[in-house]
Structures are given as C-alpha cells and as structure tokens.
Amino acid sequence: MKMRKKKRVVLKTRSAFSLVVLLLLWVSTAEPVARPQWINLSISPSAISFPAADPDDQPVVRASNQMSLTISLPQSRNWVLYLRAEGDLSSAQGVTIPISNVSWVASPKPPLLDGILVAGKNIQLGSGQGRLYNGVLTFSFNNSWNYCAGTYNQIITFTATQL
C-alpha cells in the first residue's frame, strides 16, 4: 500500500514536471505570436496631376508633384509594399487612356523599385526591413497626339504589409 502511494506520488511529480517543461517550451516557441503586429503607411500628397503638354515637346510628362512615402512598423520587421490601379485613366465622357502609360521612378533603390502601372494588378513597389522615412516617387505619363482631349482620372492604392 505504501509502495503504491509512493508510485502515485512519483507519477504525479513526473506529470507536473512534464507540464512545466511543456509550458516553458510553449512560451519560448510561441513568443513570435505575441510580437507586435502593426504598420503605418503614409503618402503625401494624396493627389497628383499631369499637366497638358505638346506631345512633341514633352513626350513624357512628369507629375506636378513628387510623392513622398513613409512606412513605420516595429523595428527590424520586414515589409512589402504594393500599388494597384483598378483600371485605366478615364474621363467623364468614358474615354480611356491605358494606365500602363503611367510609370514611376522611385528612390531610394533598394528598397523601392521603379515600375509601370498595370490595370487590376498588384505591382510590387518594394520590400525591406525596418522603417522607411524617405521614399520618393516621381510619376510620369506617356504623352501622345492620339489621346482625346479631356481630363482623365484614376485612383491607385498602396498597400504596405508587415511580414
């Protein structure tokens, strides 16, 4: 009877020990789950325009403003940034200009990349680690005699994701 009790105590001790070990193991491996998950993306200005120009004199029209870009997130975390235009440039009359005529030059490179917009497609603008304070994008528009006169608009969406 005494032996049986002793065995039970030993078993309970072992169980408790195992539980403690497992808890420690979980705390150590589960630590990343508790790491902070946040990211802030800010751009300025929120609107840019391409002025009208003679296609012969200015085959490529630069946007009136450069766009600055800032990404904040927990230190040393990885991020990826995409931009997406849902459609082509379009006027109130329903006339369109392919959005692929809009391109950008980015700095600094890396982590940012130059590129050309594609309607309905996420384009990777860059990826990196840690905060980005000094991103600058200069957008350009391919000018052409073939366009109909008008005012054309489109919205592009930037999405920054912490990895």
Partner: protein
Amino acid sequence: MKEQSFTRLRPFSRNKGSAKIFLLLLSSLFIVLGFLPESLFSQASDNATLSLTAYVSARCKIEVNTSMISFTRSTWTGQPQTIAANEGPFTLTIKMTSNSGSTVNVWLVASSDLKDASTGYTIPIGTISWTAQGAGFCAGQLNNASPVLAARLSGSGIFNGSLNFSFADDPKNFAPGNYQATVTILVTGI
C-alpha cells in the same frame, strides 16, 4: 500538505494511460501553437490612396515640307498646259488632339489672285489646283473668295497627306512675269 497539492493532478494519476494521452495532446497543442506562422494569427497592413489626374488639351500642329511652291513655264506652245509644281508633292502633316467625336477640317485660304508686283498684272488664283493622297485629304482648287477644303479628319492622331499642285497655264492670256500669292492653311473644329 504535499499530498493535498497533488490531488489537483489526480486525473493524471488515476489512470496512467489517460494521463499520458492528455499530456501528449497538451504537448502537441503547445508545439503546434508555437510553430504556427505568426501570419496566421495576424498580418498587419495599411493602405493609402493616390488620385491621379491627367490633363489632355485640344491642340493642333501643322507641318509642311516646304513653305513655298513654284511653277515655271519652260516651254512655249502657245496652248494651255498644266504645269506641275517644281518642288514636287507638298506634304502636309496635321498633328492633332481633338475632342471626342469632333471632326476637324483643313482649309486652304488664298488671300488674293496671283499678282506680279512689278507690272500689276494678275492671274486668277483658281488656276492653281491639287490632287491629294492620304486618308481624309481631298483634291481642290484655290479660290480667293472662300476657303477650300483640303482634308476632313476625325479623332486624334497624326494625319499625313500629300498634295500635288499644278498650275493651269494659258499663255495667250497670262503675260510673262513673276506672280505671287499667299495661301494659308487653316484647321477648324479642334
């Protein structure tokens, strides 16, 4: 007292088999939780939108291969004859960005008849005519009373035409001389 504290673990100890299974399940759960990618728990992201506006204004540009054409009576037959321009075809390029659905007309406007400044003699400007090549371009004859249509174009783009001018010479009525007139190319409907 020690015995009391262990009673909380009684379920583990009553049955060795169930305790082992419980521990196995528990450990498995912890391990799975610990090794799951954190992205499954949450993936932070943020959005910003940028509005793009492109302004395209209606405009037109006229380009020609020469600013002057001439005709020379090189032979004398005494009979009316057609003399082609010495410079060959006159190429006319209309570059235009027009409003949607608009039609653009290109006119040749002569301000006066051909006139010899030294004698004051004149030759009717209607003696000069042209044939045309190029989509939208048409043949015509100069007129100092009203503009004459040279092309009718739709849409935006670069339109190339070639005009072959000729002079209807009538030696019996046109005295020798140096006759000149100015013709203006006019684009309307942009």
